[in-house]
């Protein structure tokens, strides 16, 4: 910092300026030198591949972590070795940049050949002609049967697929078996309805003055209000035709139910638990301070790493009332071919490999991630590489797929959550009644749909 002030004080002194300039230039040269080296390396590889008469497929993903990267690179290596015509080149682009970069590349007419993208917005990208219509390939080899139907449907725009499902997730209930035993609940019988959930939570609660030594359950940890409304109604807020179903009796009932929980525990308890969960340092579920918790199946890997001794079980989300359905919520990613790719056929070959059983099972086991390929998911749950507990949770995730709904972005109101979220926030903050908030949200979303039609 001394350095900064000396610049000001000796502004007249050109020598120092010159020196700084020179060192800046030197730094730039070094940096550009590095970049040049990298590009050169890639180029050399590409040139080499082309010399052998192979087609280079440029593949973009955001899997750069030390866990994911080796797994995807191994899959690519296996693919490259499996045939003689195509070489896949993997480019890692950070999560925050990948899709804006993809869009810019498409607009510039020189996009990559395969990109991993969000499954929920696939139809939107199809409509906007960002992703390629894959029906010409699917007519030749229909691979749609490989995947969970809910995932496949999310990739369709006007009946044609614009992306092939790769991985997915769902939401399941984790519960502390030791705590269940302690309060006299059967550790093999997790709650199956909302009423049971409330009853069990009350039993698990351990109050200590103003705070809790153990909180039974709170519905808005790990998931949001929208998952509960999905769980209760089994329907999205906006359907394919653009019908808005926000202000419904079921949603109102759900909102009241959520409010009841908040009133029961109070803001302070909820906030302090929430900040512990958000901080990702000491999840109260690990330490037995939270009896039940809803999260993705991959949350299990955190338990495995940070609380290996925890005696816990997994279950489907409880249903609103018996027979209503244990509907859960999921998302995922697809592999798509951007519009304007120069090697779509070869890209398709790679996507086929990427979503086939072998690669998918490898990804599932090594990353402990849910995959879109049904056979692969079921095989992974029985993989000998997984421990017994690994298998139990994974099997739960696989079974839960049947109850899992996605929330594909509605084409008529792609950004509708920005209109509903503040209304629900207002309800939870006590500024609005559920009736009024849902009515306002309904009107706002309807207007958005109207304008986009």
């Amino acid at each position: 910092m001394y350095f900064y002030f000396s610049i000001i004080q000796e502004e007249e002194n050109g020598l120092i300026k010159k020196r700084i300039l020179l060192s800046l230039v030197a730094v730039m040269l070094i940096l550009s030198g590095c970049a040049g080296f990298q590009v050169g390396g890639d180029k050399a590889k590409t040139v080499e591949a082309e010399a052998e008469g192979k087609v280079v497929v440029d593949f973009w993903s955001f899997w750069g972590s030390e866990i994911r990267r080796p797994v995807i690179d191994k899959i690519i290596e296996d693919f490259n070795k499996s045939q003689d015509d195509i070489v896949v080149k993997h480019t890692f682009i950070p999560w925050g940049d990948i899709w804006t970069k993809e869009l810019a590349a498409i607009a510039a007419g020189d996009p990559p050949d395969v990109v991993i993208n969000d499954i929920n917005a696939t139809a939107l990208r199809g409509e906007k002609k960002q992703a390629m219509n894959l029906s010409e390939f699917l007519e030749k080899d229909d691979i749609s049967e490989r995947f969970y139907p809910e995932l496949w449907d999310a990739t369709l725009y006007e009946g044609d697929s614009y992306g092939i499902p790769f991985n997915t997730d769902t939401r399941i209930l984790y519960y502390n078996k030791a705590a269940f035993k302690e309060v006299g609940l059967d550790p093999e019988k997790p709650p199956t309805t909302w009423t049971e959930l409330e009853k069990y939570a009350a039993k698990l609660d351990k109050k200590n003055g103003n705070t809790y030594d153990r909180l039974g359950f709170y519905p808005l940890f790990g998931i949001n209000y929208d998952v509960w409304m999905l769980n209760a109604s089994g329907k999205n807020f906006v359907d394919v035709e653009g019908n808005v179903e926000v202000d419904t009796d079921v949603n109102q009932e759900t909102l009241n139910w959520l409010l009841k929980w908040k009133e029961r525990y109070g803001d302070n308890v909820v906030n302090s638990y929430k900040s512990q969960i958000d901080s990702q340092q000491s999840n109260p579920f690990f330490t037995g301070k939270l009896g039940m918790f809803i999260n993705t199946p991959t949350f299990y890997t955190q338990i495995r790493d940070y609380a290996p001794e925890l005696d816990f079980g997994v279950a489907m989300l409880p249903e609103r009332e018996p027979g209503n359905g244990h509907t859960s919520w999921g998302g995922g990613f697809v592999a798509e071919i951007p519009e304007g790719s120069s090697h779509p056929e070869e890209a398709w070959e790679f996507i086929k490999y990427l979503t086939d059983k072998e690669a998918q099972e490898y990804w599932a086991v090594k990353n402990y991630d849910n995959v879109a390929n049904v056979e692969a998911a079921e095989a992974a749950a029985k993989s000998s590489e997984m421990s017994e507990k690994d298998q139990v949770v994974y099997q739960m995730a696989v079974d839960n797929m049947e109850h899992t709904l996605l929330t594909p972005t509605p084409l008529d109101a792609p950004d509708f959550p920005t209109l509903i979220n503040p209304e629900i926030d207002n309800v939870m903050l006590g500024n609005k009644t559920p009736e009024q908030a849902l009515k306002d949200a309904q009107a706002a979303v309807e207007q958005l749909v109207e304008e986009n039609k």
């Binding site: 001394y2 302090s272 926030d425």
Partner: protein, 303 residues
Amino acid sequence: MKKKKFNYKRQEGLVGYIFILPWIFGFLVFTAGPLLFSLVASFTNYNITSQMDFIGTNNYEKLLFNDQLFWTSLYNTLYYVAFSVPLTTIGAIFLSVLLNQDVPGLRFFRTIYYLPAVLSGVGVYLLWMQLLDPGTGFINMFLGWFGIDGPNWLFDPEWTKPSLILMKLWSVGGGMLLYLASLQGVPKSLYEAAEIDGASKWQQFCYITLPMITPVIFFDVVTSLIGGFQIFQEAYVMTNGGGGPVNSLLFYNYYMWNKAFKVFDMGYAMAMSWILFIIIFILTMINLKLAPRWVHYEGESKR
């Protein structure tokens, strides 16, 4: 004779243009071109990849009359600018005056106060998210020592924007540096003369220091006003890509970015950017018009 001079002048002018050609090229291709394009595209339903049909002033009408989020985002941004610009300016002047005193360890203090301005970006935002945590954060812990029950900061819609302004105040070191430089340029003789005339320290500050640094204040206000309207990153990172509770951190640029890159309604986003441009342009013009009334340049004769 006359003709020759003209030629020479012309030639010199031409050489001048050749010298600034790289800049002219860059300006036309990378600034003026896109600017013009965005103006044209704001009257279309452009979405980068599949369509660009002329739809008249539809985008503008929709924005002004049918989009509540546009007004929410504009209000949030104006609120932020209205508080952050004066506060950071005053804060920076205050700090720089303190650090212009002749006390031991001055360089050390200057360094300390400038440090936050060096740190920037996502790391700082994450740090502040921890500091502002209602339960475990340092700020509420600190307030607790004085028996104050701190607010819920980033979780309470009333406090989200003040949280960001507080965070901005932490990094006034950048502005401080400018003021410090200009404070050093105030001639000592003025203070000496005032002292002889019996002016107090406060009078010296009000009638010598402040007027002498008004050009820098003017510069700082104009640039931070423009910068304030463009707040984006903070909200994007600190709300995990949402709008904050009750959309209280849905800032103008953030909403525009959503429309452009989430919904792919590029024409709409471009119309938004032009409205913002007009707002900032008008405010800057007002600033420039008002400037002669309070900005004092050394050696300038008063009209």
